[in-house]
């Protein structure tokens, strides 16, 4: 009897609950320099019609700087933020000299490269621009 109880106890003790940890959503990292790889205005592709080649935006932890400005959501350097660092749907820019401007944010992976797509109106509100940015080498 004792033998059977010991075996039963051993069997029970041998069972160890497995802790299932849901894979965490990676924090979206913007740090680095980004370039424009596609640009549309009201759906018209301007990528090869307008010189976006030298534009760069450099993101650090909370700041951004812009080189070779083109019509963009902001025209001065400043601070940036996600609405939610884990599941960001908005990317906001706060230039040093004016108020915060936000853009809807898409964060697709294309051909193994992380892109960010932002939508904004630098001029008239009804003229909608969509830029696809990719890390510059």
């Amino acid at each position: 009897m004792f033998f059977l109880s010991a075996i039963a106890a051993l069997v029970l003790l041998a069972c160890k609950p497995e802790r299932l940890v849901a894979p965490g959503e990676p924090v979206k990292a913007l740090s680095g320099s980004w370039q424009i790889i596609k640009a549309t205005r009201n759906g018209t592709d301007l990528t090869n019609r307008f010189d976006f080649g030298n534009f760069r935006i450099h993101f650090t932890d909370s700041s951004y700087t812009i080189d070779s400005l083109v019509p963009f959501i902001v025209s001065k350097n400043g601070k940036w933020a996600f609405d939610d660092p884990t599941y960001p749907f908005q990317l906001s820019f706060t230039p040093a000299d004016s108020g915060r401007k936000s853009s809807p944010l898409l964060y697709p992976v294309s051909a193994g490269q992380r892109n960010i797509i932002i939508t904004f109106s630098p001029g008239c509100g009804l003229n909608s621009y969509q830029y696809t940015l990719q890390k510059a080498n």
Partner: protein
């Protein structure tokens, strides 16, 4: 066995075709009463006289659509009512929200289906739209009946100076635009709004135009010169350049009139030329300066041949503004 299968399919197809024929209404717009012009900001009154002929009993909503300049914002600025033989008093209609699939429209909504099937009425600028309305009630109609309806459309125009070819369509919520006898359509000649600002001419080919039609100096704008519209001094030019002045909010005129890479237009063929530019950069504007408009010409590589408005010596003009 094969013979039975054949007859089974024949009955199915024949039955479906018969059902389609009997469950349909045909519609026509018999005439349209609209003024030749109105003043900017006034109400445009239009009357459509419509005949509906039924094959069999049907219960549907009545659909009326108008082809109008986008700048009128017709979805918010129009009232459509109708009277008919089978209803009493004015019957109200309401805009069908964009994105609502049209019946038998393959998933397209009414504005897209109308643009696909009926087109743009001959308007040459892309800033037009179809706006569709459904009757607030549905109506049961008897078979083999002929019904007359009188549609009253009232659209508040914008203050803008423009010419446009208005269009109309009537249909119902069952048949949609499934075949050409299921709906009625009408396209008018050039309708004029005597308003303010540069003429927005949808009716005549433009020697030059700027896209987007409304913009500010911080937009990217596209200037197109279409030498195919009329003979000009640039008919035989091997390259074409932009010669442009920006008028600032302080009344200064800044000129960029040179034959260099930054003003060189790309050829689209058939004597059509195009350039995309960012006015703030072209004129090197400081933060506190803004442009209110442009005056521009097109030149050849020497600058000696210069083409302006209507092919003449006055500049084309463009005003920076938003809707």
């Amino acid at each position: 066995m094969e013979r039975n299968k054949y007859w089974s399919w024949a009955w199915k197809i024949g039955g479906a075709a018969l059902l389609f024929v009997v469950a349909a209404c045909s519609m026509s717009i018999d005439n349209v009463v609209q003024p030749a012009s109105v003043n900017g900001g006034d109400i445009l009154p239009v009357t459509l006289n419509v005949t509906i002929t039924t094959n069999t009993a049907q219960t549907s909503n009545f659909m009326v659509a108008v082809l109008v300049p986008k700048i009128w914002n017709t979805a918010k600025n129009a009232t459509i009512t109708f009277t008919s033989d089978i209803s009493s008093g004015d019957q109200g209609m309401t805009v069908i929200p964009a994105g609502t699939p049209a019946p038998q429209g393959g998933g397209l909504d009414w504005p897209t289906l109308l643009a696909t099937r009926l087109g743009n009425g001959g308007n040459l600028l892309p800033d037009y739209e179809w706006v569709a309305f459904y009757s607030n009630s549905s109506y049961s109609v008897a078979g083999n009946a002929t019904i007359h309806a009188t549609v009253s459309i009232k659209i508040k125009t914008s203050p803008d100076n423009l010419s446009f070819k208005l269009g109309y369509c009537v249909a119902n919520s069952t048949d949609g635009l499934s075949s050409s006898d299921r709906y009625g359509s009408y396209f008018g000649g050039c309708f004029q709004v005597n308003g303010t600002g540069d003429l927005i001419d949808f009716c005549n080919p433009q020697l030059a135009n700027i896209d987007p039609r409304t913009s500010l100096d911080n937009d990217i704008i596209t200037l197109t010169f279409d030498g195919g519209v009329t003979p000009t001094a640039l008919d035989n030019a091997s390259s074409v350049y932009l010669c442009v002045s920006g008028i600032t909010d302080t009344g200064d005129s800044l000129s960029v009139c040179e034959q260099t890479n930054r003003t060189k237009m790309r050829s689209l063929g058939l004597n059509k030329w195009q350039i995309d530019l960012w006015p703030r950069k072209l004129f090197n504007l400081s933060d506190n300066k803004h442009l209110t408009g442009l005056r521009y010409f097109f030149t050849d590589a020497t600058g000696g041949s210069k083409v302006g408005y209507g092919g003449g010596s006055q500049p084309f003009t463009y005003t920076f503004k938003c809707q």
